[in-house]
Amino acid sequence: MTVRNTMSPSELTADESRIDSEETGLGLSPTMAALKRARNHYGLKIGFGILLVMAVFALFAPWLAPHDPYLQNLPMRMLPPVWVEGGSWEYLLGTDHLGRDYLSRIIYGARISMTIGIGAATIGMIIGVTLGLIAGYFGGWLDQAVNFLVTCQLAVPSLLLIMALVFVIGQSITVVIFVIGATHWVFYLVVTRSATLRLRELDFVAAAQAMGCSRFQIAVKEVLPNLVNQIMVIFTLEVAVAILNEATLSFLGLGIPSPIPSWGLMIAEGKQAMFFQPWLVILPGISLFILVIAINLLGDGVRDVTVTNRRN
């Protein structure tokens, strides 16, 4: 039974805030403290800002897009953006191979990306967290079974698996969301499982057992709330992964079906002409890049401000 008296610097600082709070009456609750840290976190603020703008575009696309993204105008096809010779103010970013307004399609594309990202990450989260809790908390053969699933999932190249599934099930937004979600739960699982394994040994779980809580109650009411921060971080990062996956799938022709505007699909369609109308490839690519980087910044930021007592 050991006592730690020498403190590492991080513990010291953690301790410091505690002592701080003691003196001023009551200090910040964990949530408030995280918010306070968030205010000083540049990455988080930038990511959140960009994301907010993109979310507004996605949500209010019908009002913000200058044209109907599906409206075909064959005689006006393949117009360049306004700053290129031959471009027009009518179509700021030009038109695609069917004469549809590129700007409008990019704006609507944000919608698709976000829907897929959030949808798939949610499904992955539900699967991963449930399995992780089960495996971590109950252990035994359940853990073995889950471990088997994980090995299956990891051993098969996930992109190929997704492609095969979408290929045979058929392309639609729902299918893409479900398939990406159903193949991206390992990260949740691993983190949930190991956190649960760790938490399971902590005394507050024993205390709950001692007060007569059932195992299910403990898993859901005692263990799960402690995972929220970590799950939130994974969720954001998985949203980014799902968005990239969707784009890749669509690029390979097995993602979002035409004519729905998906950035990956737009890149694939523009690829044919990429040496001559490079904006067809570059514009959706940059949109994708900005969205994903914003989400990643947000995710990293959330981790930095919520997961304390951890070096870096």
């Binding site: 730690r4 020498t6 010291l12 410091e16 003691e22 005394d203 057992q209 007060m211 007569g212």
Partner: protein, 672 residues
């Protein structure tokens, strides 16, 4: 500045910048260490004692900033030495260092031999063979049997005590002039602690080293140090010869600290003294005496002006304004009727809990390629707990204490045997019913409270689970309980992170008691706390017992706490109860050689006395390979043929249950 001094520190400060402000970990201390002497730096957690040690060799964490007007080591000033100079000339060569955590302080991927040898080959042009010779010599010196073959072993193959011995040998490879030991025994069991301290003392004499011994344990420092420096909040508040400081403390903090130690005052039945409040934040501008907020004697001047250093004689200083002592106001929690009210005579009381021949076996896999092996955590344990008593369960880590408490609470099914609570088998009790009868208090107040729940929620949780009362009533009951355990009502909506260790332990106690259980299992409830807080909690537990008519099973390794709390004592060794009886009986005339060694190892505060050698050979064995016969025989100084071959059964001697073949004769053999 005496010529005999090897180390002279003037005005050393360590600052650690944090997100919002700067933490002043060490605030301008001055120290002097004479050649060949031992200086004990003592203080509670966060007092800056370890920072001081690290600052000497500039091993501070990267963010920390060190300042000193002078760090004079044997005539050379280390203040301005570069990292490279320190590394090549001082560290590991002239100053050796031993750290607190032997489990993590050795590199797990390299062999002991390599780690020992490189210390030497790094600094001197010596051959590998020479270094190996030295390593073997030192390993033998630090008491590791078969040193040559040890060199090939890896840290994880050694026990904690063995690793600490290796650490010591490593620090001595280059015959340093100064040895800094930072809490060298805190992580070790009592018997090992005594052995290590004894060893350090011997080696220091033999090699003529000077030593800085950093510890929070006043008992340790009283035995092992020539001089003592008491640190509080980054400052040395009192310093002097060990005996003088401990016998005649001048600073109110030193006084308070000593009063907190169970057994110090000699009257085990008295309430402990306690220092109210907690250490203030050492951030930002600090004015006045840092101890003022907790000092019973504090006057206005203490809060505004930095206290002066007062010198009693050469080498004996303390830092205090020394305000007038107001009459009738002692230490804040100084008891009024200090006699413990209900020292119950339990002999006639009914048995509330019986543990009947319980054994517990786990199967454990070690390593990636390992096979599962059985681990016998409990071997035929029988115990009874009488209503209203405090039964102390004593034993070293790994002896099965925790398994036993979990089994008693019904959280762990025994392999054989059974536990009876109020006449009912605990395995057959529905969890809800069981919970109303028996509740635990855990060791670590940091992990025993769910960090995501408020204190109010945590204490109310048992009520919610059991569906007792409306939300309104539950809140009322929680507030009443908080008052009872001494928690301010404003923390109702706070999270555990916002509370100090002592407050958390109070909340844990509140949660355990809110269902009004009859039996409370206290699993080392104070071992994670500082001594001043420990006193508060021990007092609280005793008060609650009297008030609520509780029965405690009190698990601890701290014998002074046992002395203070227990009615009866059960001593555990390797999953067995080797001795069990009335406290005084067991503690003053132990029958089992292990109990005897334990009592010997306990370091009470007695300056002048040296560290006893508990006379136990070897380390606490690995429960994975229990020895045949009496499990204690490999370490037992009086073991005979019978002990090696046959396990002894329980035997009743003088009302004490003992498991030893030589119990009847042991007394005479063990007291030379």
């Amino acid at each position: 500045m005496s010529t005999a001094s090897i180390l002279d520190i003037q005005d050393l400060s360590v600052d650690i910048p944090t997100d919002s402000s700067t933490l002043h970990a060490v605030r301008g201390i001055s120290l002097e260490l004479k050649r060949g002497e031992t200086l004990g730096i003592v203080g509670e957690s966060g007092s800056g004692k370890s920072m001081t040690a690290l600052a000497l060799m500039n091993l501070l964490p990267p963010a920390a900033r060190r300042q000193a007007s002078c760090i004079d080591f044997d005539g050379s000033d280390l203040t301005h030495a570069t990292e490279r100079e320190l590394a090549s000339k001082i560290r590991g060569q002239r100053i050796g260092m031993i750290f607190q955590e032997p489990m993590t302080s050795l590199n797990p991927v390299y062999s002991i031999g390599r780690q020992l040898k490189e210390t030497m080959t790094l600094h001197r042009k010596v051959s590998d063979a020479e270094a190996e010779k030295r390593a073997i010599y030192l390993l033998e010196k630090v008491g590791l049997p078969d040193p040559a073959s040890r060199l090939k072993q890896y840290p994880h193959e050694l026990s904690g005590g063995q690793r600490q011995r290796v650490m010591i040998a490593m620090a001595l490879m280059n015959e340093p002039e100064l040895l800094i030991a930072d809490e060298p025994t805190t992580a070790l069991d009592v018997t090992i602690q005594a052995q290590i301290l004894h060893l350090l003392r011997d080696l220091q004499r033999e090699f003529g080293m000077s030593m800085i011994l950093i510890t929070h344990d006043l008992g340790v420092v009283s035995r092992a140090a020539d001089n003592i420096a008491v640190m509080y909040a980054g400052d040395i508040v009192e310093t002097g010869k060990t005996a003088e400081v401990l016998e005649n403390p001048c600073h109110p903090y030193t006084k308070g600290l000593l009063e907190c130690v169970p057994g110090y005052q000699g009257h085990s039945q008295q309430r402990l003294g306690a220092i109210p409040g907690i250490v203030p934040a050492m951030t930002g501008e600090i004015s006045g005496c840092a101890f003022a907020s907790r000092c019973p004697r504090a006057a206005d001047v203490c809060r505004t002006t930095n206290p002066p250093t007062k010198k009693l004689h050469q080498g004996r200083y303390f830092v205090c304004h020394e305000p007038e002592i107001e009459q009738g106001e002692g230490t804040a929690e100084q008891p009024v009727g200090s006699e413990r009210t209900g020292k119950t005579d339990c002999r006639g009381a009914e048995d509330i809990l019986t543990v009947d021949h319980v054994s517990c076996t786990f199967s454990v896999r070690r390593g990636l390629f390992g096979k599962r092996k059985p681990l016998q955590a409990l071997d035929d344990v029988s115990l009874t707990l009488k209503k209203g008593e405090v039964l102390a369960l004593v034993g070293e880590s790994g002896c099965g204490k925790t398994t036993l408490t979990r089994t008693i609470m019904g959280l762990q099914a025994p392999s054989t045997g059974f536990v009876t609570l109020n006449g009912q088998r605990i395995g057959n009790l529905p969890p809800m019913e069981r919970a109303r009868m028996i509740q635990p208090i855990f060791q670590d107040p940091y992990s025993s409270l769910n960090p995501r729940k408020t204190i109010g929620e945590i204490i109310a949780k048992p009520l919610v689970v059991h569906g007792i009362g409306s939300t309104q009533e539950q809140h009322q009951q929680v507030r009443k309980m908080m008052e009872l355990v001494g928690l301010p009502s404003r923390v109702f909506n706070s999270y555990p992170d916002q509370l100090s260790g002592g407050q958390r332990q109070r909340a844990a106690i509140g949660r355990a008691l809110i269902l009004n259980p009859e039996v409370v299992i206290c699993d080392e409830p104070t071992s994670a706390l500082d001594v001043s807080v420990q006193a508060q909690i021990l007092n609280l537990l005793l008060d609650l017992r009297d008030e609520l008519d509780l029965t405690y099973l009190f698990v601890t390794h701290n014998l002074s706490v046992v002395q203070h709390m227990a009615d009866r004592v059960a001593v555990m060794y390797l999953g067995e109860i080797v001795e069990c009886g009335e406290r005084d009986q067991v503690m003053s005339s132990p029958k089992h050689p292990y109990t005897h060694a334990l009592m010997d190892s306990a370091l009470s505060i007695s300056p002048g006395e040296s560290v006893p050698d508990p006379g136990l050979s070897g380390d606490f064995p690995n429960p994975m390979n229990r020895p045949n016969g009496c499990p204690f025989h490999p370490r037992c100084p009086i073991a005979g043929q019978q002990c090696r071959e046959q396990a002894p059964g329980p035997e009743l001697i003088d009302n004490t249950l003992v498991q030893c073949w030589k119990a009847k004769t042991a007394g005479s053999q063990l007291k030379p």
